[in-house]
Symmetry: C2
Subunit: 194 residues, 2 copies
DNA sequence: TTCCCGGGTTCATTATAGCGAACGTGCGTT
DNA sequence: AACGCACGTTCGCTATAATGAACCCGGGAA
């Protein structure tokens, strides 16, 4: 149980086309448009798209570019692997990098995918009504590391209680919450958006 | 429009090949290998690579995949756009998003570029010798938010003293340091690597 | 000087991605 | 029923991506 996200990809996927195929179908259905429609918007032949979605062929960069553009997503979303799920690393757990000559310890919590926006927030909250967020865009993931206090964080149905130093990541494209349980609660939030 | 808010810059680059061309050259030089060598490792003709690097052609997915693999980087590093100063936001400063019905406050510290790897670390350190880091790859930027304690953080020549809640970002492609000034110092570090 | 080797580019050939047209299928309409 | 139509697949044809070999260039070594 290392980190999420892909490490340097030696050869994790033998057949790149299969990813494209899956990603393409998924994204098209998400956009709610027909194969023909997408092909038209992207300015490519629908036969081409049909083959790509059935997993045969070897699309060119321009084709990928056109499709990503028409789907209004980044190209990397088509070629890079997906990731989500709620993951907790308790304070003190997880892989560590310890310095030799200094009392310094770094724990790798996550390796964020090389696409999409990443916003870095500092949260301060006090006990009281929870702060619920509506779903963000599809594929959004949030990472929270609690600095002080105590809080209930995560998908509403599946929130986790964090203590100082605890870390959680969860899909943010479903309703989620941040509820402080102690005075002076503060946290760092990294939002990873499509 | 499909999802809430999501705005993807249509196509800042009309010619995708140009990005590949630049990225390819840059990554190859970074790896310190010759064109012929890279072609051999990737299992593609060196003529192909030559043309791609000079900005002509329209590489297929398999070609890109092979090249990314040989360079030991993610494909998105080749297709997504490039870009990257010490900046401090003191605790309580900076833009705020306050919730209406909850004692919750989120301060946006940074909006990370949509490319490159982003690693999220939790740092714990004790007073003593500083933890100096050698330069990372060109364009690397690190963001640090201090959770507890006190620390001196940033480029060695230009480090900043942080108190709990303070934030700093700085180029990490030059020597930099993290020196705890109090017991129980902890921080969150987001590394942004080209 | 000459020779040789590794760097990169250019050339002619082949494999195939991408294309429009034609085709089968299912659903709604008259 | 017959028709229209939109979705998706299959079928030649053409453009071109990818290839190895041939080629040029500069730096050592002899």
């Amino acid at each position: 149980m290392t980190d999420t996200g892909q490490r340097l990809p030696a050869q994790p996927t033998p057949v790149p086309i299969e990813r494209i195929s899956a990603a393409l179908r998924a994204e098209r259905h998400r956009a709610g448009i027909s194969l023909s429609e997408l092909a038209k918007r992207a300015g490519i032949g629908k036969s081409t798209l049909s083959q790509l979605e059935t997993g045969i062929g070897n699309p060119s960069l321009e084709t990928l570019w056109a499709l990503a553009g028409a789907l209004e997503i980044a190209v990397s979303r088509l070629v890079d692997p997906p990731q989500p799920v709620v993951r907790v690393v308790r304070a003190g757990e997880g892989p560590k990098l310890t310095a030799e000559h200094a009392p310094y310890q770094a724990g790798l919590l996550a390796s964020l995918p090389a696409h999409g926006r990443h916003d870095l927030y500092h949260i301060t909250a006090e006990p009281g009504p929870a702060h619920d967020s509506d779903p963000h865009m599809r594929g959004a993931v949030e990472h929270v590391l609690l600095c002080a206090g105590r809080a209930l964080v995560g998908p509403i149905e599946d929130a986790v209680e964090l203590h100082p130093g605890d870390y959680v990541s969860y899909p943010a494209d479903i309703p989620h919450t941040f509820k402080a349980l102690q005075k002076g609660t503060s946290a760092v939030l990294v939002g990873e958006y499509a």
